[in-house]
Amino acid sequence: MNVSIVPSLKKLRPVAMLVIVVLLGLVLGYWANAAFLPGTSPEQPIAFSHRIHAGENEIPCMYCHTQARLSPSAGVPSVSKCVGCHLEIATERPQIRRLMSYWDNQEPIPWVKVHDLPDFVHFTHKRHVLAEVECQTCHGPVETMDRIRLTSRAADGTAQANHPWEMGQCLSCHRENEVENGTDCWTCHK
């Protein structure tokens, strides 16, 4: 009688292969979704380009996101702010026309939120801006983006596109910069 386990293992091979293929398939499908439909750069109601505004025209971030240095939330500019410039500039372009139709109807523009944190996180733009953290540190090279893409900061300090923020990323920066009480849970959680 054969006591070796090898022949028995051989008999199991089809099953094992099936399991491996299924697992691989799951990973592949998940990855495919992440790669091709990341959902990290959603289409906006108006194809606003940060590249043109912040990049080419070098408009400072805080010109539109005025609240970033005053308030926990950076805020989006009011429609009137956009209209303020575009009454004069590039009035004939289709996207500007679209903007004007919002303005004419006195409707707000429903921008899709890209950078989002869970409800239990207390993040304040104000403290980070006042501590002279560059906007790009957390939001990536916004001035190169035509459409905003979710970007976070990898542990090595580089921008990490399509990757949501994780606690470790906040922490590594807080550690590097020796932020006061920067690793106390209650500094960032509420």
Binding site: D119, H122, C185, W186, K190
Partner: protein, 252 residues
Amino acid sequence: MSLFSRFMDGWRKYRKPGYYDEFDYHWTMAIDLDKCTGCQACMTACQAENNIPIVGEEELARGREIQWIRVERYWEGEYPNAKLSFIPIMCQHCDSAPCETVCPVSATYHNQDGLNTQIYNRCIGTRSCAVYCPYEVRYFNYYDHHWDSPLEQQLNPDVTVRGKGVMEKCTFCIQRIREAKDHAKDDGRRRVQDGEVQPACVQTCPSKALVFGDRKDSENEVSVAINDPRKYRVLDELNTDSSVFYLKKVDA
């Protein structure tokens, strides 16, 4: 290795005697029982400030109330000599907190401000902290709470809404402390001044029975109160070293 040394650092820090003396602040509350009228305005203030859910009659009947601060009542004697005393009980922010040692995931720990923390999103809901707490001030979310629309519009955006399976308790209104520190930083100050932070309960108390402040500042109201000859701490015999001091009710 760095992980390990960090771990050892933390360990040594916790083991070091006098660690708590190095706190930046030592937030403390003093409650004058001689002034407390049992009106429970503090409870409503807390409920409004901290998004404490409305649990409903059935759940209350099952003993599932959530009250970060509650006013306990104790009767003494019988008619006609019956006497009733009130005592507000909230998280005592013990410096030797029994709850902190038991949480397996460190969702509750002591922070550098002398506060007993509760990190809701870390909590896995073993409820052991509530067992270990002799003051019974930890409340558990037995299910997801619901606010009949539009009551949810009142919810304080500075405080998270706790989901099911999470323990919660008084935070000394950490969001207000955080805001005060923020203002202090804006003004270029190192420290928060006395009176800048008032938890919701202290702010609203109609008879001003509650006083809150930083014990490190020996001049302020709370330091005076906790050096009053009438001061005591509830269940002091358990050596919890709590940060809530009570001033004895005067029996005249």
